[in-house]
């Protein structure tokens, strides 16, 4: 029997199927004792509608591998950060045309207002040019913003830093 961690590591994200939950940093821990498997996951966004599917997928994959007694726990703290996406995950995002996130902001004290468009150095995942601009902070899913490349004019998604 393949060990439970190895099985859990093959499960992909329902909305970013090129990435595994492990690549995303959503899969926090897998422990196994006397056939009882406990999987801990942390949601990316509170309203993420994919959480239930992630749970189902983990249970199904482990069941298929022969683990009948699987419990999926939600760990809320520490809150998920885009910094947890692995290097492998970042590579796969870029390959799929989604610009990977930079470092998440670390703040203490009052959070400063951003009144102009946030300045970020994001390279175009299509042509590699560094000159890109923000179209909208809110993209097709909670975790992505929409940008446009000034060199090749293509729009692309950028994984948000949180």
């Amino acid at each position: 029997m393949v060990n439970a961690l190895a099985v859990a590591k093959t499960v992909t994200d329902p909305e970013l199927p090129m990435l595994t939950l492990a690549d995303l940093g959503v899969l926090r821990e897998v422990s196994e004792e006397d056939g009882h498997v406990v999987v801990a996951i942390t949601p990316t966004y509170t309203g993420c509608p994919a959480m239930d599917t992630m749970r189902d997928d983990l249970v199904h994959a482990l069941r298929d591998a022969g683990y009948d007694d699987v419990e999926v726990r939600t760990v809320l703290r520490p809150a998920w950060s885009s910094d947890w996406i692995t290097d492998e995950g970042r590579r796969k995002l870029a390959e799929a045309g989604i610009a990977p996130p930079g470092s998440a902001p670390r703040r203490r004290g009052p959070i400063p207002l951003t009144l102009g468009p946030a300045v970020r150095r994001v390279s175009c995942p299509h042509c590699g040019a560094g000159e890109t601009e923000l179209v909208s902070e809110f993209g097709p899913t909670s975790c992505k913003s929409l940008r446009r490349c000034r060199a090749c004019d293509e729009t692309f998604e950028h994984f948000k830093e949180i």
């Binding site: 199927p17 419990e71 939600t74 809320l76 009144l115 102009g116 946030a118």
Partner: protein
């Protein structure tokens, strides 16, 4: 299980659970330790979670009413995303309420089967949908207030509430920036856009005072909102200055004998909102999806 795109994954015949998100609508706090910390009253904690959960649920519903009505596609997506973040916060907070008082009441039961006077949201969240200027005004005020509140709540004695707040801070930071940037764009835009933005702000300002009026429950188990006023005023002054708008100076809308949203006393708009929000669940109370 590796797919090149989401559609391929959807069509994967291997897994019967892929066709619908949320098959069974699981408990959002599944597997989270929800023991009430010692020294904290479970009923108080539950009532407090309902207040913050109802703010998010009711305002999320108003935001959802903008879908297909926003001025541009990007804004439609942004407003929907903000509504989704708040709905996620509401799910966790309502679920926390049902566990804190030991009733085990579910998020759906709270959302769909409570009468109006049991909702504890501030009245600002329920206000009738107006024009885009009014939306930006409500969103700016709501998110500035909620961001300050969630920041303070990260130190809550209840670890579940602290964790929800921790996550919420990251999300609401984006909401506040979105509203602030639109306020500047409209306020510092044409004479006409300035007028509409200022009218939006003036129209909702009577409901601002309520946000900082502490309820006894908030004093006991939560963040006393009166301590957030200075930060709120500071942020609003920054935005209004950049937007060439004036911070309104109007009388607050008082409640009924001093009772307001936190006491279950709402505006006329609330009944219509709940009728829409609850109609399907009440027509088919046994349905699952």
């Amino acid at each position: 299980m590796s797919f090149d795109n989401a559609y391929e994954a959807l069509a994967d015949a291997h897994d019967d659970s892929r066709w619908a998100f949320g098959t069974g609508f699981e408990d959002p706090l599944s597997g989270v330790d929800t023991t009430v910390p010692s020294g904290m009253d479970g009923a108080d904690l539950s009532a407090y979670c309902l207040m913050l959960g109802d703010d998010a649920l009711v305002f999320s519903h108003r935001l959802q009413q903008w879908i297909t009505r926003a001025p541009e596609l990007e804004d439609e997506v942004a407003i929907a995303n903000i509504g989704l973040d708040l709905l996620g916060q509401a799910r966790l907070l309502l679920a926390r309420a049902g566990k804190a008082d030991g009733s085990g009441r579910s998020e759906d039961s709270y959302a769909y089967f409570r009468p109006e006077h049991e909702f504890r949201n501030v009245r600002l969240a329920e206000l009738e949908r107006g024009d885009f200027g009014q939306l930006i005004a409500v969103l700016l005020v709501f998110s500035t207030w909620r961001l300050a509140l969630l920041q303070a709540l990260r130190d809550s004695a209840d670890p579940v509430l602290a964790a929800i707040a921790d996550k919420g801070v990251k999300e609401v930071t984006y909401h506040r920036d979105y509203a602030a940037q639109w306020a500047v764009r409209l306020g510092d835009g044409t004479a006409y856009s300035h007028e509409r933005m200022q009218a939006g702000l003036d129209g909702i300002w009577p409901y601002v005072g309520e946000l900082f009026t502490p309820h006894e429950i908030e004093r006991r188990v939560g963040v006393d909102p009166s301590t957030l006023r200075a930060e709120f005023d500071d942020v609003l002054a920054q935005v209004c200055s950049a937007a060439t708008l004036s911070v309104p100076d109007v009388e607050p809308r008082v409640g009924v004998s001093g009772r307001m949203g936190r006491d279950g006393v709402h505006t006329e708009a609330m009944g219509y909102l709940l009728a829409e929000l609850q109609s399907v669940a009440r027509a088919h109370p046994e349905a699952t999806w």
